[in-house]
Amino acid sequence: MTAAPEQVDVLGVAREQVLEGGVGLSEEQVLDVLRLPDDRIPELLELAHQVRMRWCGPEVEVEGIVSLKTGGCPEDCHFCSQSGQFPSPVRSAWLDIPGLVRAARQTADTGATEFCIVAAVRGPDKRLLSQVRDGIKAIRDDGNDIQIACSLGMLTQEQVDELVAMGVHRYNHNLETARSHFPNVVTTHSWEERWETLRMVRAAGMEVCCGGIIGMGETLAQRAEFAVQLASLEPDEVPLNFLIPNPGTPYEDYPVVEGPDALRVVGAFRLALPRTILRFAGGREVTLGDLGAKQGMLGGVNAIIVGNYLTNLGRPAQDDLDMLRDLSMPIKELGKAL
């Protein structure tokens, strides 16, 4: 008689490997976590929270974002209502400098330490970069010393250097999904082109913010693949979005990610990326409702976008700030590294 093979419990292994050792889960291990039954989700989230407290600490990084140039993007990212290739109701618009200064002030007033300026473009041109430069100067002239991040698409080396010279300290550029799934989501540029921008950003000394969107038709195995691909990039921050099916986009009829699946993703990404800032971003409202923020913050997330997103709305910033106070999670102070 041969004994049945002993089942290795992935959370038991993760306790040793990730919580004690600080070593992120492998792709196979992440997949095991993503397949955990619903009744083990509380245990997963508790472990993910312990990992976050152990390797990142109790502080939460709060950030606000604004769209400087909305809509009319030439790329075809199938989830995006700002692509000019789909009949989305989003119209192109530019935010003027006073509007940008106001948005930065609204963000700083919440106690946030990070303000991200975003543009819907393949990459910046001279006009956009000069708007960003003037905008940053105007924000500083307003007496606002909030840290400034940018998300302006793919960059050349020269543009990377320009952004560094402007004092941009973090650059956001999402890989969006697993490398094997990317060609199904975007056809106008490649995953490798995105990776190249991230490499230059890192080499120039800017912090790297890189995440993606869950719920774009990827398999569980591809979610696991994505988590370890992100981990291999060693980003400073990973924003985690859940698809909001936007009208006019090819994904408008996609179902939203189910709450339990979203929570498994949150826990699994924390266990794959024990030391990274893991930011709750778009889609948590549709996926998890108001409770979602709290479950995520107690499940490994240690950063949050407060207020609205770029074209969609979030819940009021004050609700999230009240929640952080209730959870006794201090907001990271300006100039202090997490």
């Binding site: 909305t70 989003v90 609204q106 919440t110 009208p247 409202e285 549709v286 407060v306 979030g314």
Partner: protein, 68 residues
């Protein structure tokens, strides 16, 4: 709110409010979306979302903003 005119069109999908069901549209407007279509003329509006709210401008009927 400075826009004028009666609400005849759905701000989410731009279709007429009479007849068809806009409950799903109302849910999206209540949670994650600013209005995209003018309620008086169904033109697509220029919408700017900011950390604290949104503004939506119809070229004919003027601007709306969130109270938030």
């Amino acid at each position: 709110m400075t826009a004028t005119g009666q609400a005849v069109y759905c701000g989410y999908c731009g279709q007429g409010l009479d007849g068809s069901d806009h409950a799903a549209c109302a849910r999206r407007l209540g949670v994650v979306d600013p209005p995209r279509f003018c309620a008086a003329c169904a033109r697509r509006m220029v919408v700017q979302v900011t950390p604290a709210g949104w503004t939506a401008t119809c070229s004919r009927h003027g601007a709306l903003d969130s109270a938030r």
